[in-house]
């Protein structure tokens, strides 16, 4: 049965406590920092989409220059605090640490990054000075990683930025779309506050573009516009029974966990999660942590093709989630309007499809999972209508830009999930930086 309040407050707190706790003390951080051998042209830096100078910031921890360390991180990635919690570092910086080649544990880069940035955010260190205002104004759509990263770079250069955010809080998917045991809503708030404390960045919450204000109006009011509104609606399965009570998309499920409080989020006893990306993992593990007795992740390909990292999959498995590889949902069976079962075709792998991965092919056999809730985590759809209405060039709703982030409309730039279709937070931050650089170039600043 789908109910809320399945657990006691203590159990919720325990289940949602941080899975990557920070260093307890300076000694622990220093011990780890001193393991770093300070590589030249470091693989970790090259593997970071924002190219944080990792050896430098770690060295700065060892020299008792924590302010310098935080600055080194933030100058490349203003979401360095959040990224230290949510980045899949096992496939980025830590994954390429040279210690891996010695079959040793890589440097705990994320944990060290958190050590430096937590102090900065907590004590509100003023690490950046804003150049005097140069009279240029930019409207940024979306206060997520792309938008705020762009806003921060622009404001540092003296541009006055106004950010339009449809939600009542900033941070975008960092705030609304990531498992609570990775990053807390409180932290997301303090991170947004820290970023905007630079000055020159005004965030207008509860302002949805296309509803409360139009792109055309923004173009008129500002010297340039940056679009970083991400992706929105969850992809539909387009199978019978999708309208039943108990079918929910992962984004809204996670959104509720993050905005309502754990005890207020209804969850089934037996839950199927469809998909095998990071969001699917976040939905499955959190369903389990909310008190679901049984959670089964359903994926139409095999383990080798999964979109999540091994570390993420391990979290789900350690939480007791079952995995059903090679199964594609074909129907959701209901009873009295409520979900009763999920029927899947058993699949086998065929020749590679357009994605380069082996295409799943139906075997003709089916399996039925007795479930009372189905969570869809098969990706999100871009805001196609909004984009089309404004004459922005796109492919299936994904905005088309040149390599610098300029759209087909003069003075309108874009980046992040709305362009790439949905990648990591750190990719969005980098896109924001690039977009800001392009806007500064456009302003000839």
């Amino acid at each position: 049965m789908i109910t809320s309040n399945k657990l006691s407050i203590d159990q919720y707190e325990k289940n949602f406590s941080a899975i990557h706790p920070p260093f307890e003390n300076k000694e622990a951080a220093l011990m780890e920092a001193n393991r770093c051998i300070f590589c030249y042209d470091a693989p970790c830096t090259k593997s970071c989409p924002t190219e944080i100078n990792v050896p430098k910031f770690i060295k700065q921890i060892t020299t008792d220059n924590l302010k310098g360390s935080a600055h080194t991180i933030f100058v490349s990635n203003i979401f360095g605090g959040g990224c230290s919690r949510v980045c899949p570092v096992e496939k980025l910086c830590e994954g390429s640490c040279v210690y891996n080649l010695l079959h040793e544990k890589p440097i705990a880069i994320a944990k060290l990054q958190r050590w430096a940035t937590d102090k900065a955010i907590q004590d509100k260190w003023k690490l950046f000075d804003r150049k005097p205002s140069n009279g240029k104004t930019v409207a940024v759509i979306g206060a997520g990683p792309a938008g705020l990263s762009c806003a921060h770079v622009l404001s540092r250069e003296g541009v006055d930025v106004t950010v339009y955010e449809k939600e009542s809080k900033g941070g975008g998917l960092m705030t609304y779309g990531i498992a609570a045991y990775k990053v807390t809503p409180e932290f997301c708030q303090s991170e947004v506050d820290y970023i905007s404390s630079l000055g020159g960045i005004e965030i207008k919450y509860d302002h949805a573009v296309g509803k409360d204000i139009t792109l055309e109006q923004l173009q008129k009011q500002y010297d340039a516009v940056y679009i970083g509104f991400g992706v929105g609606l969850a992809n539909q399965l387009n199978i019978p029974g999708e309208e039943l009570d108990g079918v929910e998309d992962a984004i809204s499920f996670i959104y509720n966990i993050r905005s309502k409080g754990y005890s207020q989020v209804p969850v089934g006893d037996k839950v199927a999660v469809i998909g095998m990306g990071m969001t699917a993992i976040d939905a499955a593990t959190q369903a389990k942590r909310l008190g679901a007795k049984e959670v089964t992740m359903v994926y139409r390909r095999s383990e080798a093709e999964k979109n999540c990292t091994q570390v993420e999959l391990d979290i789900a498995m350690l939480d007791g989630c079952k995995i059903q590889w090679l199964a594609a949902p074909v129907a959701i069976v209901g009873e009295n309007g409520k979900v009763k079962a999920l029927v899947c075709d058993k699949m086998k792998l065929g020749a590679p499809d357009f994605s380069g991965k082996p295409a799943p092919e139906r075997t003709g056999e089916t399996i039925t999972l007795e479930v009372d809730m189905v969570i869809k985590a098969t990706g999100q759809k871009p805001y196609k209508t909004l984009v089309d209405e404004n004459g922005l060039k796109n492919t299936k709703g994904k905005l088309l830009t040149d390599e610098h982030g300029a759209t087909n409309i003069k003075g309108v730039f874009a980046g992040g999930d709305c362009v790439n279709g949905g990648k990591e937070v750190v990719d969005a931050v980098q896109a924001g930086k690039k977009g800001a650089a392009a806007i500064l170039e456009y302003f000839k600043i």
């Binding site: 220093l30 001193n34 051998i37 590589c39 030249y40 042209d41 470091a42 593997s47």
Partner: protein
């Protein structure tokens, strides 16, 4: 099993490791614990002149997260009553007759004071005396310690006084706070000292508190130069030791080596440059007496591997390999080689060579891993890359002689061979 027992001027100990004159050897309770742990001998903390200590007394240098790479003290000689020390020495000797008991001395600067002190020490049954001519702080201002060791004439005079009275072996401990330990070494050997020990601590400032602006160690808003010791001073100690072993006069007496000995490997190095016994302090101040176990076991295993039956089979063995620069073979050449299978692509060899040596390593860009290779024709064989490489045997130095013949600098010049040709 090799025999690591030691006979130093008739002073026998089951192993060559003695605790140096310092806080670990200043009272019976410590020394008994040291002997129970297995130490071969002690040099009892310096007895003699009346003193008064201050607080604090120590400071240290840490490096890249490792504590106490170097250690510094401003403590004086023993501040316990002389008769208690003498009584305890006697009691320890009774309990551990098989261990070496040397007593460090620093009397006031009169012949009578020295004679009186030596008599009292000999009455305890101690096996030997070590003259503290090295303490670099507190005592020097009063004309003692390093003030004696730094002046060969004074040192010679004091040793002569000592030798008039001593019936047990006398070891003279040398200060490194000189440009060369050899002049004082010669003077005291000529004055009759039976043995030498070196080095004492090196004058130092270990660091400054960046909030108070006062150097360490802190004493009521002030500090003084202290005596530096620990692993950081080992290379300097080995150099001074080598010069004593090379000198025709000073190498006639046995040497007790001191200066940053922390492991059996350090000990072997001191022995290879001429030490018969070894004195340890800082490593014990950091870890306690228990380190004696590995000091002995490591030495024993190494001797077995090398086929040495006793320590006398290798003492001084490396002394002849230290030569003069002008005698080095100019035709010897080796170049670095990177084992690509072992390389972890950290780039440390590359940046060291590029910024600080001869730009002899090539970088081929890769994401995330660059490939590094040696440009053999540019490599001067300096070792820098090998020293920086974090992987053992990843970079090796491969011999590539320029010519088979040995030619040194003198011969090179004589033949008019090319100079400044790189």
């Amino acid at each position: 099993m090799a025999d690591i027992s030691t006979n130093f001027l008739g002073i026998k100990s089951p192993n060559p490791y003695w605790l140096a004159s310092a806080p670990p050897t200043d009272k019976k309770v410590n020394v008994l614990r040291a002997f129970e742990a297995g130490w071969g001998g002690v040099v009892w903390k310096t007895l003699g002149s009346q003193v008064k200590n201050v607080s604090s007394r120590y400071s240290a240098v840490n490096f890249n997260g490792t504590r106490v790479m170097g250690f510094n003290n401003i403590e004086l000689i023993s501040d316990r009553p002389l008769n208690i020390n003498l009584k305890e020495i006697k009691e320890v000797l009774k309990e551990f007759p098989d261990r070496a008991m040397i007593v460090s001395l620093m009397a006031d600067n009169t012949k009578e004071s020295w004679h009186e002190l030596i008599k009292k020490v000999e009455d305890t049954g101690a096996h030997g005396i070590e003259l503290n001519f090295g303490c670099p702080h507190g005592m020097t201002e009063r004309g003692m310690g390093a003030a004696v060791g730094q002046d060969p004439v004074i040192a010679k005079m004091v040793v002569e006084w000592v030798m008039e009275a001593a019936h047990i072996p006398v070891i003279t401990k040398l200060t490194p706070n000189v440009h060369s330990v050899v002049p004082t070494g010669i003077a005291v050997v000529e004055a009759g000292t039976n043995a030498l020990s070196l080095i004492n601590t090196i004058q130092s400032v270990t660091g400054i508190d960046l909030d108070t602006f006062v150097p360490n160690p802190y004493v009521a808003g002030k500090s003084v130069f202290g005596g530096y010791c620990g692993p950081a001073v080992k290379p300097i100690a080995l150099k001074f030791l080598a010069t004593i072993s090379q000198n025709e006069i000073t190498n006639k007496v046995p040497i007790s080596g001191i200066g940053g000995i922390s492991t059996w490997k350090d000990a072997v190095e001191f022995m290879l440059l001429g030490s018969t016994s070894l004195q340890v302090c800082t490593a014990v101040m950091k870890h306690g007496f228990r380190i004696i176990e590995d000091l002995c076991e490591g030495l024993n295993n190494w001797m077995d591997e090398k086929g040495f039956a006793t320590i006398y089979d290798f003492i001084g063995r490396s002394v002849p390999t230290l030569t003069h620069w002008e005698d080095l073979d100019i035709n010897y050449h080796h170049v670095a080689h990177i084992n690509q299978d072992k390389c972890i692509h950290c780039g440390l060899c590359y940046i060291a060579c590029e910024d600080a040596s001869h730009q002899s390593i090539s970088l081929t860009y890769g994401k995330p891993y660059n490939t590094y290779a040696i440009k053999e024709e540019e490599c001067v064989g300096c070792n820098l890359c090998q020293l920086m490489c974090p992987v053992e045997n990843c970079i090796t130095m491969v011999e590539q002689r320029v010519a088979p013949e040995y030619v040194n600098w003198k011969e090179w010049q004589k033949r008019g061979l090319p100079l400044n040709d790189h």
